[in-house]
Point group: D2
Chain length 155, copies 4
């Protein structure tokens, strides 16, 4: 469900700088007893947007080596507007920091009905070597792929 | 995310008799430790398809009276094929039985990637009167709406 | 969280015939916009009770062979009473049918607050051979383990 | 499932400063395709621990006025250790900051199997006035209740 920027599907400006955007319907059951989308649900959307980003740009990371993989170190979500069913959200992901063995990904949730950002946040991802059981340097092939996707270099 | 049968979005024959069809992406996180979609997930999709059906055809049911509403009495799901991320499913709902105070809805989950039915099942829904605290006769306006959607009469 | 039948933890009669019983708190977030436990939640509890049963009695099934494992073919849930947070449920599992290559497990959800069965249902589990890609005969060691747990023979 | 500090249920030192602690089993289905507890699950546990705290100490907040209630502004989770089924976690909540109209709650997830903190994090909660549609001053009765629970004053 990655969205290409076709003429009839132009991204809102809030998502302009996000190389990977997924589009998801809100389920009725995403709502909790307060009658709006439960706070755990955007965390699931963040996960899906991380996967969407990896699929789009740095699946080389996943495939380069069986012994290396991403681990989620932390996640933060800011709940800016209450969301309700029915609605469709667009969830953007971009890399905002590219460190030696970790990176920070930013997420934004845009509500089509409200035409506004309803939540945003970030994830810290560590590249882990399962053999040495330690964080490991992000391979150059992955850095290159991310910089290509983001259209800038991280120094 | 109800799908209109536009030229570029023709329903597969497996969904031909379903007046309400929703289209949903599989999330990576819908998968469990077996590496395929967890058994609770189609139950959530069934719920979304019930809501989709009600939205499309018999929201009159919901609005006619504050004192009356649908209650889920039972659900059954048959898991026919393992599903995986990434994939998109189409979930159809139709009414197969229309009783005095209850109805049976059938659900089918079609995997776009596998081009096959991956799960199906049914729900029994009871129309409940919250004042008398008892099942109540399905109003004629709802019967008419369902029969119009289904293109047939239930006798 | 398997419950031993200690003096201060006697099972209610509704669970008397269930060799495996787990005890679980209801989360606030298990409730949906109707203000009661969502219909997908007992399906998750059924899953946990199946795992609890397998852990208790027939983990031999899991360990006997890498090439063989249980697959969930279908699940049915009857919603008998609305459940709310806070509450604690006890979920029982028992085998009611032991076929050649499949078995039926019955589940019951007992609400401690309501002191009544709030949901029940069943699962059909098929023993699958991953090498031949077909259902396979349930091994005698598993039959014996199940019959010992259930205190009866299935002929 | 709030735990009283009875003799046979002494809290580990990691939870010593948390006035509200809930105890929850990990479900098999809490695990994702990586084979460990999915990152959304501790967020659900945080929610349950917030509710547990409110139940224990400041339900006065909820009851004082229909027109006032807590809103979750943000949540952060640090994933420190991978968790697996079967295990039981203890989730502590404490107030670390008590502002004019918002407060910060800290959460810690202690794995009984690993005998270590597996995740921690925090929530920012805003007290909202539904009539004025704005954040509102936390009432003194709530401040007093929180300070009593925490055994200290917030100046």
């Amino acid at each position: 469900m990655l969205i290409s920027e076709s003429s009839d599907n132009v991204q809102p400006t809030e998502l302009a700088d996000f190389p990977a955007v997924i589009r998801l319907p809100i389920h009725w059951g995403d709502q909790d007893a307060f009658g709006h989308v439960n706070n755990t649900v955007p965390i699931r959307w963040f996960e899906s947007s991380r996967i969407g980003y990896i699929e789009q740009g740095c699946s080389v990371l996943m495939k380069e080596s069986q012994k290396m993989g991403p681990i989620l170190a932390s996640v933060t979500c800011n709940y800016r507007r209450q969301m309700h069913f029915p609605d469709t959200v667009r969830v953007g992901a971009r890399v905002s920091r590219l460190g030696r063995s970790s990176l920070t990904m930013e997420h934004v949730v845009y509500s089509e009905t409200q035409q506004a950002v309803a939540a945003d946040g970030s994830s810290v991802i560590v590249i882990f070597n399962y053999e040495s059981n330690r964080p490991t340097r992000i391979p150059d092939i992955v850095r290159t792929a991310i910089e290509a996707l983001e259209g800038k270099s991280f120094d």
